[in-house]
């Protein structure tokens, strides 16, 4: 390397050799840990052809699992969206006592093992608890039923929307809202016409991540579901059961749906980030 080339480089730029090495290491790592498993899932899923794949998907228990997963996501994602907006609004726009505590609470599901999150509901609603038998006397089943799965999913996924919105809202401050109020807008009009459009991309991003996690959650749901085939099995649970029964083709066929969901989420997320960039 000549002196001239050294002069042209900025102090923070590595030499081309080092650059190539770094890129190669990163790509190798990605290939081994990400692309290879991804490839494996799809190749196993379609090992016996598209027909067998389709058979595995429309099998009644698989369909029930898909339906339940969609139902759980359809309930928990909107609820977490409302909660996320409310929490982010409170944290970003107001000063109040216990704010730091609320932020810590929002992060709790991230720091607690999902299995513990599930166990919390078993302790709360199980036969040995106070609430469980009382609710049961009114014919309300929480544990080993859909409500329990929904509760566990909400718990695990509630940080996503709030975490995404807090920095966006803090960044924007309150003057847009104040401007709308001074122009005569009501609180609802201000939210609808000013706040919501300002946060729409961040919100969509948070909802996407929340949805991906809601559909893919295993640990917490596994603890509360009771694994009743065709009734309380979500897609991840159904995959595990099929796999344990050595029904690999069917297990990977259902798994390929979840992977497909992950890929769609990634593409949408990237598209939104590009949109953010302007």
């Amino acid at each position: 390397m000549t002196d001239h080339a050294i002069m042209l480089r900025s102090a923070l730029t590595e030499t081309p050799t080092v650059q190539r090495w770094l890129i190669a290491v990163a790509l190798l790592f990605l290939a081994f840990f990400l692309f290879l498993p991804l490839f494996a899932v799809f190749s196993e899923a379609f090992r016996n052809g598209v027909g067998a794949w389709w058979e595995a998907i429309i099998e009644p228990d698989a369909l029930a699992a898909i339906r339940l997963t969609l139902l759980v996501a359809a309930i928990s994602v909107p609820l977490n969206m409302v909660f996320g907006i409310a929490a982010a609004w409170a944290i970003a726009k107001f000063e109040f006592r216990g704010k730091a505590f609320l932020i810590t609470l929002i992060d709790l599901p991230f720091s607690v093992s999902p299995v513990i999150s599930g166990l919390v509901y078993v302790l709360l609603f199980g036969s040995g608890s106070l609430l469980g038998p009382w609710l049961k006397s009114y014919g309300i089943e929480i544990l080993f039923a859909v409500p329990g799965i929904v509760l566990a999913t909400i718990f695990v996924t509630f940080p996503f929307v709030a975490r995404e919105l807090i920095p966006v809202m803090q960044d924007q401050g309150t003057s847009d809202e104040e401007a709308a109020l001074s122009l005569g807008a009501s609180g609802w009009q201000t939210f609808r016409h000013v706040t919501l459009p300002n946060i729409r991309w961040g919100l969509l991003y948070g909802v996407l991540l929340c949805n991906a996690r809601a559909m893919g959650e295993f640990g917490a749901v596994s603890v509360v579901s009771g694994h009743i085939r065709g009734l309380t099995d979500t897609m991840p649970l159904h995959i595990e059961i099929l796999y344990n029964e050595y029904n690999f083709a069917a297990a990977f066929a259902v798994a390929s749906l979840l992977v497909g969901l992950a890929l769609v989420t990634l593409v949408l997320k990237t598209a939104i980030e590009l949109r953010f960039a302007d």
Binding site: S175, D176, E178, A180, L183, G184, H193, P197
Partner: protein
Amino acid sequence: MDLGIQNVSKAFGATAALRDVSLSIETGELVALLGPSGSGKTTLLRLIAGLETPSAGAVFFGDEEASRRSVQERQVGFVFQHYALFRHMTVLENVAFGLTIRPRHSRPSKQEIERRALDLISLVQLSGLEGRYPQQLSGGQRQRVALARAMAIEPKVLLLDEPFGALDAQVRKDLRHWLLEIHERTHYTTLFVTHDQEEALELANRVVVMNEGQIVQIGTPDEVYDHPAVPFVHRFIGESSELPVRVENGQIWFDDCPTGLASDRAGSGLLFFRPHQVEIAPEGSRCLAARVIGSRRLAGTRRLELSVGQSNRHVEIDVPLEHPVAQKQVVFFRPKVWTLFPTGDKEQARPETVGAKLVFPRSAAGGTLRHYEPSVS
């Protein structure tokens, strides 16, 4: 609409942002709230708009007490420092916002809203840009959209928070003239907050000078510049130099030397004067003698930095560019226009009541106000 602020105080937690502020503003006035940052001027503006509630006191719109009315009901046009334009709306939608969100019974028709918005856009000289988004506009253009948006609701008062604060110097100057024109055409009662004394003096009919949550002086630009009520105002508005002096036998003394300035008050005080309001005195006459420690070229004059007396007080004076004194080591000068603020017991005993009665009138023998053209700063 007349505006009244009566004994208003505002505290944020333990810190007092405003302390017993009273002010009345007449219809059609253009008033500047001038003060350093943290003086409470923006808080006062936000209290009038209803964006804050006073801890004590009342705000009147005409004869009606506005304190209990919500922001929406007050119908004030508020222009924010960083414009707060709605970024997902076009210029036209931004300006029309205040009308489109009205409840159906008081909302004009769609055509009428668009006509009024377009009228305002042409008033702020942005015709042709109504389809643009805020990001596509320059800072000055955004500011004008914000003003048009505030005027669209036919406000009772216009409140502007540091309207030119975020703009560069040339745009600021243009916008000042333009704001004056708008005010002359619309006659909205207007209050604007600024920390730029030049802006306040040039634009306002009346200037309200604030410091540490209190109003220290209210007056026309001439009054606050020529007759500052307290030392703070003299220091804050225009350039000023000050010397600790003592009055004996009708004569003002500095460092045991007579200054050649007469006063009928006895005791110690602070002598204030402005760099351009001095005259060069002949050596040997009663005047201030000073060593020249620095010389700088300003736009139309030369500014000398001086060290006066044994106590080496630093003061500044302006001399004409070609004046021979600029070459010398020692300069003899005398303020032509000056203000003496008594210090000592009175002020320390009652620091809040610094008002007109404590002020010494400016020397009647002051002569013409300006000997040299004031420099552009």
